[in-house]
Symmetry: D2
Subunit: 279 residues, 4 copies
C-alpha cells in the first residue's frame, strides 16, 4: 500500500487537519493547553486543581478515573463513579474536559461524559479499543506507545481513521531508553518529523516524558519551538500526597508561571490558547 | 509492599508452580512444545500444519484467529468464525490447542474453545483484559511486552494472580532494541533470571524473537539450556504464501529436525515432551 | 564519593563555569554557533563553506580531518595534512576554528592548530585520549556517547577535570534508540536536566541527532528553548557530492535562514552570538 | 561495496577462519575457555586465581592491567607494571594469557607480553587502536560495543582485517537496553546470526553480559547451545574484596562446577577445550 493511500499521510492530504473542540481549533494556530491531576482522587481535589489551572490559562482539564497502573496494588482510579464528576465540573466551570479510556466496553459510556477521549501509551496498539473509538464523532488523543516507532504510531492513528474517526490528536510522551535518570526520553525532533509526515495535530506531555517537576518548563518551551500544537501537564495542589505521579506534578503556582513563560514562544510560533468562552 | 507478599515471587512461594494441561505438567519437568501457524488461514491450512507438527512431536497446536496487526490493512484473522475450527481440530486430533485473545469481551467465549489462552506482547499491560482472564480456571500464556521490564512483566502476572488465576505461563519473545538485523533481541539471561525470581513456568518464542527461520534452531537449543519450560514455534507448510510471518516460519520438515536436535538438550535438562495421550 | 566532591557537579560549584574563547563567553550568555562541513575535503571546499557560514553569523568554523567512520572503506579525512588548512583559514578569516581529535598521540600537535578540540561520540570513554586532553589549557567539546547515560557522560568530563582541564563543553548529539526513521533521538530534556546537575556549558548538535536536513531548524529552536549554550551544525555548499553526511547538511542559504529564525529564541533566552571581532 | 568484497563475510570466504593459539584451534572445534580476575590486583591474587582456574580446566588466563573505568576515582589497574606479571605467570604455569589494551601507544609493548590481546566494548570503534592492532601477527578478541549493531561490529573487524590482521575473535558481551535488573542484555540469537554472516570465531562473556554470579552458568550453557566458540569468565577467590566486578565474579569452586556442567553441552556441539600442553 502506498503512502498516498494512507489517510494519516501528508501525501494523502497536504493541508493540516483542523480539529474544532469548543473554540479551540487545533491544527490552525489553536493551542491545546490541558492541565489537571494525573488521577481524579475526589470531587474536591479535582475541582480545586481545575479552578486553579483554568484561572492560569488552561483550556482543557485533564484527569483520569481509569488508571493503567503497573501494579495491581496501586490506586486504580475512581472508575465509573468519576464520570459524573467530570461532566459536572466541565459544565459548571464551562471548560473542556478529557479523560482516559482503557476498555472497549467503556467507550460508549465514557464518551457521553467528556469532550475529548485519551488513549494511553500502553493501549496505543489495543486495536479493539481503537476500533470502538473509531465509531465516535469525537476527538481522540492518541499517546505514543512507550517503544512505538513513528510508523507504528501513525498506523494506530490509521486504525481510527480507516474505521471512521479522523479527529486524531497525536501525543508524544517520551520513549523508553537506557537512561535511568529520567522517566522517559522526550522525542521533540520526532514531533518536528511527524509534522512533515502527517496532517494530524500533535501535542506533547512533558510530565510523563520527564517525570521531574523542574524539567516541565524547559521541556514545554522546547516542545513549542519544535512545533507542538499543545501540551498536557499534570498539576496537583498537594503533590506530596498525590495518589499518582506526585514527583512530576507542578504546583498550581508553578503552572501559572509556566503559562506566563511559554507565552513568548507561542507568540513566535503564532499559536493561541483559545478558551471555551472566547469568540 | 514486600516481595514476600507478591504472589508471583519465590519469596512468597519457594517451590515451582506446576500447571497441569492434559498430561503436560509444566514446572515439574514437563516441556510445552507448541507449534503451528502464526494465523489460522483456513480449516485446511490449519489441519495440514497441525497434523505435521503433532507427528513431529508438538504437544500443543498454536494458531491465532484474532491478529493484532500494526496496519489496519493487514490480514486481521478469521475472528470468531475460527473458534469452532480450533476446538474441532483439538478434539479430532486429540491434542491441546491454544489461541490469542485480545478483547476482554471475547474472553469468556474464546475460553470455551481452547485449552490455553495467550496474551500477546501488545496486551501485556491491557489490564482490563487481564482482569477478565483472572476469572478463568485455565492456563494463560503471558507474553512479555516488547519493552517491558521484568518487574512490569511480573506485575502483569500479579494482576492475574491477585484476581484469582495462578496458572500463568510467562513467555519471553524478545525485546525491542536498536539492532535492526533481527526482529527483536531474545533475552535468554532474562529467562534464567526469572527462574530465580518467580515460581511460575516460563516458555520462549524464538520465532518472534528472531524473525528469521535459520535462527529458530540455535535459539531453541539455547533457550532449553537457559532453563525454559517450553517453546512456541511458528510452522507453515507454504511460508511464501503465509498471510503472516512467513519469513520466520519453519517448514514442517524443519520443525521435525528441530524436535530431533533439541532432544539431547532436553535430556540434559531433564525435561520431557509429554503428549495428551501419554500416561 | 559524594557529589559534593565531583568537580563537574553543581554541588561542588554552584555558579556556571564560564569559558572564554575569543570574545565568546560560554556559560555567561554567550552562544557558540559552530558551522561548517562534516569533513574538510579540500582547501577550496572548506574556505567556500566557511566564508558563507561566517557571513551568516557563525562564530566558530567546524570541520573534521580525522574521521571515525564505521567502515574502513569510507573517506577517512585529510589527516595531518589538513591541520595547516584549518589554522590558516582561522587566521585569514579571523574566526575561531575547531576539529575532532581521535588519537592520544595527535593531541599535542592538533592542539597547536585549532582554538577548540572536539571529542566524538565514539571516544567519549576513550580514557587515554581524555587524559591527554586534560593536559591542555584549551576548551574541549565532549560529545555524548551514543548510548551513554548522563552519569557516564559527566564522569567522562570528570576525567578531564580531575586531570587538569576544566574548560569542558558538553555536546548532546542524540542517543541510539529503536526508532529507525531518524539517525538518533535528540534528548533535549536531558539538556535541561544537565543544566541542573552541572555548571559546565552544554551545546547541541542537531545534524547528527536527526540526520535530516529539514529537522535542523526546529531542533535548533527547541534546543535553545531547552537551554542550550550553543549549536554545532553541518553545512555544505554541495551536499549531493559531500564525502560525508550530505543528507544532514544544510545549504549555506538554509543556514543563513536558520540564523535569522533562531534569533527571537536567543533573545528570549538572553543568549548572544558574539564574534571574534566583537568588543 | 559488496558483501563479497568484505573480508569478514561468509560470501568472501565460506569456510571458518581457524585461529591457532598454542594447541587451541578456534573455529575448528576448539573451545576457548578464558577465566581469571577482572583486574589483576597483585602477583599473589593473580597467581592464586590462575592456578585454580587452570586446574578447573581453563585454557586461557584473563586479567586486565589497563582498566577503562567510568569514574576516574575507581581503580585504574596496575598499568605497565603488570606486564611482567602476566608473561611470567603464563610461562611458569605454561598457559595462554590475555589482557586488554586501550591505548594505541601501548599496543606494540603489550603485545610482547601476552598471547592474545583484547579490545574492550568502549574501544570497539577506537579506529586508531584498531589500526595499530592490525599490524600484529596475533589474535585479537574484539568485544562488541555496548550499543553496536552487528554491522558496526563486523566493520570494526574489517578495520583489523583490511589493515593486515585476520586473527579476529568476536566477543558478545551483552548490549545496553532499558532493562535495569541486569547489567546488559546478552544477545545469543546474535551469536547464531553472526555465525551465518562471518567466518570469524565468536566467544561470549557471560560475566559482563549479566553482571550476576548466579546467571553465569545458565548463560554459559545457553551460549554453547547457540554456537559460541568460547567463554570468557570472571573468577575471583575473594569477590567481596575485589577491586572490580565482584558481584559478577564466580568463586573458583563455582567455576570448577561450571566446567563440569558445560561439558555435556560441549560434547553435543563437538567442541573441545584443548590446553597448551595437549597434543
Amino acid at each position: 500500500m502506498n503512502m498516498t493511500d494512507m489517510k494519516h499521510s501528508r501525501q494523502y492530504k497536504a493541508e493540516n487537519t483542523v480539529i474544532k473542540i469548543g473554540n479551540l481549533k487545533l491544527g490552525n494556530g489553536g493551542f491545546l493547553l490541558a492541565a489537571g491531576p494525573c488521577a481524579i482522587e475526589s470531587a474536591n481535589q479535582y475541582a480545586t486543581i481545575a479552578q486553579k489551572v483554568k484561572q492560569a490559562g488552561a483550556n482543557v482539564i485533564r484527569g483520569s478515573i481509569f488508571k493503567p497502573r503497573s501494579s495491581p496494588y496501586s490506586f486504580q482510579g475512581l472508575g465509573h463513579d468519576g464520570l459524573r464528576l467530570i461532566r459536572d465540573l466541565g459544565d459548571e466551570m464551562d471548560i473542556l474536559v478529557e479523560t482516559e479510556v482503557m476498555d472497549p466496553r467503556d467507550v460508549k459510556e465514557v464518551s457521553r461524559f467528556v469532550d475529548i477521549l485519551r488513549v494511553g501509551a500502553r493501549n496505543m496498539q489495543n486495536f479493539d479499543l481503537l476500533k470502538e473509538l473509531a465509531k465516535l464523532d469525537m476527538p481522540i488523543i492518541l499517546k505514543r506507545g512507550m517503544s512505538a516507532t513513528y510508523q507504528e504510531w501513525l498506523m494506530a492513528a490509521e486504525y481510527l481513521m480507516v474505521n471512521g474517526n479522523d479527529q486524531i490528536i497525536l501525543c508524544e510522551r517520551g520513549i523508553r531508553t537506557f537512561e535511568p535518570a529520567l522517566r522517559n526520553t522526550l522525542d521533540l525532533a520526532g514531533v518536528a518529523y511527524l509534522k512533515h509526515q502527517t496532517h494530524l495535530p500533535i501535542i506533547v506531555d512533558p510530565s510523563h516524558a520527564t517525570g521531574k517537576r523542574n524539567l516541565i518548563l524547559p521541556a514545554s518551551k522546547a516542545a513549542i519551538a519544535a512545533g507542538t500544537d499543545g501540551l498536557i501537564i499534570e498539576v496537583h495542589h498537594d503533590p506530596e500526597h498525590a495518589l499518582c505521579d506526585g514527583a512530576q506534578s507542578l504546583l498550581p503556582s508553578q503552572f501559572n508561571d509556566l503559562v506566563t513563560e511559554i507565552q513568548p514562544y507561542l507568540t513566535i510560533e503564532k499559536k493561541h490558547i483559545h478558551r471555551k468562552g472566547d469568540l
